[in-house]
């Protein structure tokens, strides 16, 4: 019966080409707009690391002592001082703990004679890689000893490896950063983490930095790139030396930790609070004791990374879809009015009202489906346009996955049937008469 109705639907589609075309276009436009904005919004608010997003925390401590009452704010800055970072890293309660910072430097492959290029480098510690489940193509991340000894080692992304070593297995080879040689110990496989929650607020949708190296190495080489970090000093450093900077009350380092259970989380919270109290006894942490462990999801909310505009866009698109469907509904009324003759005939030869409703619903579903397919194409175009407009976001954001495609088609069909309900019901209530008007 269903295939019969589909066959009838397709025949009827061709019967009134203009009407059918208009209906399909309207549905396609509405669906296209909605799915474009929805896809972008969906991608932006995805869980970056679903396997453990509940267990990853931004470690935040309020070490300020400027006498200002910050309680009117809900959040505290996620950065901390060098002193505090080093102390907190000593705790073995978290399963993994990593510092996060960044520098910019010149990079070149010393074996080749290319000119050096400037690259951003993520400086972090050994736990970063297992904590974020970063996949490796060759080799592995560095270990704790490398951190402790500030070794000159690097991990490259697949793209960086392509750029500097033509994609070969470059483990053991040297890469020149600035004036120094670093040994390649690992090359990543394809890795995409969206949003890049551990990085800077305004770069959450950019690709990860090409090169990773130990934070301790950055410190020992005294390389600092202020433009890549958020520094806030409630009290200036003693003098302009690196040592003074490291000892100062300037916060500039982030720490992310993985805590396997609620128990561990509570333990760690206790550890932080105790540490803060100790420090307070020594004259630091003058304002208050407020330490927070902010989960990834909460962090993303607090940092407000999904732009308001993106949300507004989805609402607007939904309203647009409704307008399109209202327009379509009017056309459906017209379409079914013209089918009065056929409807009467079918009733006369024994179709029940339900048969007619089923037949017309399938007809609308077919129109909706075609509109949905077209809408998908329009949405793809829309996403390409978005990629151009929002070119600072990377293109993997602007892609539909299979789930979204299915949702789109289902939405198109369902919504066509809902908006067509009244026209269909009206048509099925046709007055029966043997003097049927011409078909």
């Amino acid at each position: 019966m269903f295939s019969y109705y589909v066959k009838l639907a397709l025949i009827n589609f061709k019967r009134t080409p203009l009407l059918s075309f208009l209906m399909v276009m309207l549905i396609a436009m509405g669906i296209g707009a909605t799915m474009t904005t929805y896809t972008v919004n969906y991608m932006m608010s995805q869980d970056p690391i679903p396997t453990k997003s509940d267990n990853l925390y931004s470690v935040q401590i309020d070490s300020r002592g400027d006498g200002v009452d910050y309680s009117y704010l809900d959040t505290i800055p996620p950065e901390m001082t060098y002193l505090d970072a080093m102390n907190i890293l000593k705790s073995d309660i978290p399963k993994y703990q990593a510092v996060i910072s960044a520098i910019r430097t010149t990079v070149k492959n010393p074996a080749k004679h290319d000119t050096a290029v400037t690259r951003e480098v993520r400086t972090t510690s050994a736990d970063f890689f297992p904590m974020l489940e970063v996949p490796f193509l060759y080799g592995r991340g560095w270990d704790e000893t490398a951190d402790n000894n500030a070794e000159q080692v690097v991990v490259l992304t697949k793209q960086a490896n392509m750029r500097f070593f033509d994609g070969e297995n470059s483990i053991g080879q040297s890469l020149q950063l600035g004036e120094d040689l670093y040994q390649v110990v690992g090359v990543l496989d394809d890795w995409l983490i969206v949003p890049k929650f551990y990085g800077q607020n305004n770069a959450m949708y950019s690709q990860p930095f090409d090169i990773f190296m130990p934070f301790s190495t950055q410190v020992s080489k005294e390389i600092f790139t202020t433009s890549l970090i958020n520094i806030s000093c409630w009290k200036p450093a003693e003098d302009e030396s690196t040592a003074a900077f490291l000892a100062s009350e300037c916060s500039w380092i982030n720490i992310w930790a993985e805590l396997e259970s609620d128990e561990k989380k509570q333990q760690f919270q206790l550890f932080l609070d105790n540490y803060a109290q100790q420090q307070q006894a020594q004259g630091r942490f003058a304002n208050r004791i407020l330490n927070k462990l902010v989960s990834v999801k909460q962090y993303l909310v607090e940092e407000e990374i999904v732009p308001e505009d993106s949300k507004i866009a989805v609402w607007l698109a939904a309203l647009f879809l409704i307008v399109c469907l209202l327009n379509c509904m009017g056309l459906m009324m017209a379409k079914f009015h013209g089918k009065a003759g056929e409807a009467g005939l079918r009733r006369a030869v024994g179709a029940s009202r339900q048969h007619l409703i089923a037949q017309f619903s399938v007809e609308l579903a077919v129109v909706g489906f075609i509109g949905g397919v077209l809408g998908l194409l329009l949405a793809q175009l829309g996403l390409v346009a978005m990629t151009n407009l929002y070119s600072h976001l990377h293109s993997s954001l602007m892609q539909m996955n299979a789930l979204i495609v299915i949702i789109t088609l289902a939405l198109a069909v369902v919504i066509s049937c809902i908006f067509g309900l009244i026209p269909i019901l009206k048509a099925s209530r046709i007055q029966l008469s043997s003097q049927l008007k011409s078909l």
Partner: protein, 402 residues
């Protein structure tokens, strides 16, 4: 106009179809007017002046090579060689760029005792030529002089000096009369700063920050291993100068040019999201207009087809072609106007919702009125072709059997 009463009666009788059209028109109007408002808001936002001469300016982010003792000498060397380039109007070291998305800010206090700052201000540090070099406008007090200028490694807010502030910040310092801010002393990092002059505008680094217009300028050059040079070229010389600057800087061994951007590029990047939103909204408006006209056209066409007999009868009874066409135009006008009036109310409440939840400003009346006019005209245009076709229906249809 004689048709008006019968038209209205007929619409009342039918109910569903006209109701649908009215709904379409009102929802379209509601969305379009709010979208148009958002577009205009954004355009206004994006066209705010930074205060500096954007047309001919660019900045360079590069390294100053150490050790620390050499920073000042290297800085002066750079400044000298850059200023010597032909086509260069001015070069200033600057520790941040307006709308550059990375910058500095500090809390400004009225005195040493209070806990509560006047507000947070973006701050810039440069030499005494900053006003002239960046093309800023001094509107009160005096400009900075050589004797004001100092050099430090970081944190101009820790050095006591004479500062310049923007008018926007002056209004915070001295709310009754911003001019009175001249000569007052404020405190940053517990260090006194005397307000020497007030400039018209200089935006901070973050376009969406509430304090973007409140900036202060220290005559303190911040040197460390990276430095920014703000370069203003003579008119029409921007590209040459950029090339030359690039060459000159790279003469120094070990030089890394991290970034070089024109102020135009800076502005584009700063407003990238807003620009995209604006374009998106415009697409929505166009799409809406398209959808509505298609809808009205389609429905009108089939409404005409459905009533061919009635039209033929009218013509047979003496109606002229023009009268038939006017009939359909009038019918559409009645439905449109009803839809627009309802849409007016709907638009106002949507506008309020957006204002509440997303902090947008409500739609101004002129928008609503011109939106109504525009949609009305659109409706009439969409129905005009089917109405024309209606006028061409043969009167002979009346006598033919069904």
């Amino acid at each position: 106009m004689r048709d008006l009463a019968p038209i209205i009666k007929a619409l009342f009788k039918d109910k569903l179809v006209p109701f649908l059209l009215i709904l379409q028109i009102s929802v379209t109007f509601m969305v379009m007017v709010n979208a148009a408002n958002m577009i205009s808001e954004r355009e206004k936002l994006m066209s705010r002046p930074t205060g500096v001469d954007e047309e001919n300016a660019f900045y360079v982010l590069t390294n100053l090579q150490g050790p620390a003792e050499n920073y000042i000498a290297n800085l002066n060397h750079d400044l000298a060689s850059l200023r010597a380039i032909e086509g260069v109007e001015a070069v200033s070291p600057l520790n941040g760029v307006p709308l550059g998305l990375w910058g500095n800010y500090t809390s400004v206090y009225p005195n040493l005792d209070t806990e509560y700052p006047i507000d947070v201000a973006g701050y810039y540090g440069s030499d005494e030529h900053i006003v002239k070099n960046l093309g800023l406008t001094l509107i009160a007090g005096d400009n900075l002089t050589l004797s004001d200028t100092t050099i430090t490694a970081n944190g101009g807010q820790n050095i006591s000096s004479n500062i310049l502030i923007t008018k926007a910040f002056a209004e915070l310092v001295s709310p009754e009369d911003w001019r009175q801010a001249v000569g007052q002393t404020v405190y940053t990092s517990n260090t006194p700063q005397r307000i020497k002059g007030i400039i018209k505008a200089m935006q901070g680094a973050w376009p969406r920050w509430y304090g973007v217009n409140g900036s202060i300028i220290y005559p303190v050059i911040e040197v460390n291993n990276t430095i920014r040079y703000f370069v203003r070229a003579k008119p029409d010389q921007l590209d040459n100068v950029m090339e030359e600057v690039n060459k000159v800087l790279l003469n120094t061994p070990g030089r890394v040019i991290e970034k070089m951007q024109t102020m135009e590029e800076v502005r584009l990047r700063a407003y990238k999201d807003d620009n995209a939103s604006s374009k998106l909204l415009i697409s929505v408006c166009i799409g809406l207009l398209l959808a509505t006209s298609l809808g009205i056209y389609g429905q009108a066409r089939f409404s005409v087809n459905r009533r061919k007999r009635q039209i033929g009868t009218r013509r047979a009874l003496g109606a002229s072609k023009g009268q038939v066409m006017r009939f359909f135009m009038l019918e559409n006008a009645v439905v449109s106007l009803t839809g627009l009036v309802i849409g007016f109310i709907a638009a106002l409440s949507l506008s309020e919702q957006f204002a509440q939840h997303f902090g947008l400003t409500p739609v101004p009346l002129p928008y609503l009125l011109s939106g109504m006019a525009a949609l009305f005209v659109l409706g009439q245009l969409s129905v005009s072709y089917p109405a024309l076709q209606a006028s061409r229906v043969e009167p002979a249809i009346a006598t033919r059997s069904a």
